[in-house]
Symmetry: C2
Amino acid sequence: MLYIVGLGLGDERDITLRGLEAIRRCTKVYMEAYTSLLSFGLASDGLSTLEKLYGKSITVSDREAVEEKADDMLLEARDSDVAFLVVGDPFGATTHTDLVVRAKKLGVDVKVVHNASVMNAIGVCGLQLYRYGETVSIPFFTDTWRPDSFYEKIKRNRSLRLHTLCLLDIRVKEPTLESLCRGKKVYEPPRFMTINTAIEQLLEVEQNNNESVCGEDTPCVGLARVGCEDQKIVAGSMKQLLDVEFGPPLHCLVIIGDTHPLEEEMLEFYRVGRDDRAWGRIPPACRRGRGRCGQRR
Amino acid sequence: MLYIVGLGLGDERDITLRGLEAIRRCTKVYMEAYTSLLSFGLASDGLSTLEKLYGKSITVSDREAVEEKADDMLLEARDSDVAFLVVGDPFGATTHTDLVVRAKKLGVDVKVVHNASVMNAIGVCGLQLYRYGETVSIPFFTDTWRPDSFYEKIKRNRSLRLHTLCLLDIRVKEPTLESLCRGKKVYEPPRFMTINTAIEQLLEVEQNNNESVCGEDTPCVGLARVGCEDQKIVAGSMKQLLDVEFGPPLHCLVIIGDTHPLEEEMLEFYRVGRDDRAWGRIPPACRRGRGRCGQRR
């Protein structure tokens, strides 16, 4: 049996009892690192905290390991119980759907343990989930590659007066172009896109296309570290959010469509300039800094 | 402090460690019943199972209690730690956003513990979450009230080739019209919409509007009890799904847009007529029937 276990968004305490039971039943535990490295702070003691909680040692799998060596893991899962841990919910990333398909083809039973992901936890900003249009991804622009397919999607959502969730680029263990040419991979340092960079890129694309999809006055919500103890949520115009320091990853951005009065009331708590410590305040009992978020505070 | 704790979708084991810690810290524990009655099977021993796990007694709050007496709970939360438990994620329902707004206005600190909800767990069917358009709700038709605003939304999603998640009506503790006229409330028995009824209503609306938004051949996925041990997922045309018995609540329906090859591969596992026991098979260790889903198997 392969258990694909969602770990949620915050720290080690965001696992469910069902997930914890599954892991403790397994003979081997893998964790995907490529979408979660930044959340987990694996460079610090995040991994050992998890191992202690689970009573198991964890093998961290980067993208290459999962995509190239998945079959080894799946063959193990045919004969014994194996857990594959994923930050957020197992179906937040296409890669994990692919893993399920491969497992089924090999005749390996799969069991999924769900958890919160940004796709539903984004509801915390007060904008109702059923008022969102298509989700978009904003990739890092480079000197030679400035893809802007997100612009058309945001345009459609805005014409329907819907909110748009923008997921921002994460680059973990990306080989440098130079090293690929030489045939021996050397990796770039991990990078994540900030809300500020996302807005800069959006404004640049708007300037190039000039279709009034967004601009400095477009109302948005910036969310950093959703679901973590130190999450930060600020609502304001694109121009206002450009100057906000959101802190460590991960960041995402919502471009606001038409709002209902209740949505407006919630957004008011997050308005630029308000004391955001008043909302989502951390109670003393939780301040022990045990989590992967706490480590970055 | 008011802790709004998501319980996830399956049974009592779907709570997170963070949620469990919060509840155990609280002097009073409330649980909303109006969106969760059917999931929890409160008529059976579901409630006592939760109380035993939490080591706390739980006050079940129906819609009226939450909407009319919320201030009492919030005043308690100003002086002590109070938990409010919600099936799924706290922000799946507008009512809970309203609760947060009321809490903030009274100066009550709020802390949210996220969990899986249908809005992200729907990813289990293999259709990628970022390929969904606006979510729609399909209400029960009555002899005199046949609202079809969902039709326009589905039409838009389909013209954009996006998937549509249809949330199906739940009627818990609804006063009868007759009793409202008499001034003394008598409640209808709880009802939930099946996938079959949803499709019948969709086909009726299509027949009336005749805009080729959907029809008997439209590919869909029906999902019952997502995240529960006995979840059932079947992919097929509307006509095919009309004949499928999905069993106990809750049900939802996805109308499929354009698909990628990976999405097709996943859907293949759920195709009508396949032995769906092969997928999501329940391992013996989980068959103890402790959960609210188990009770209905």
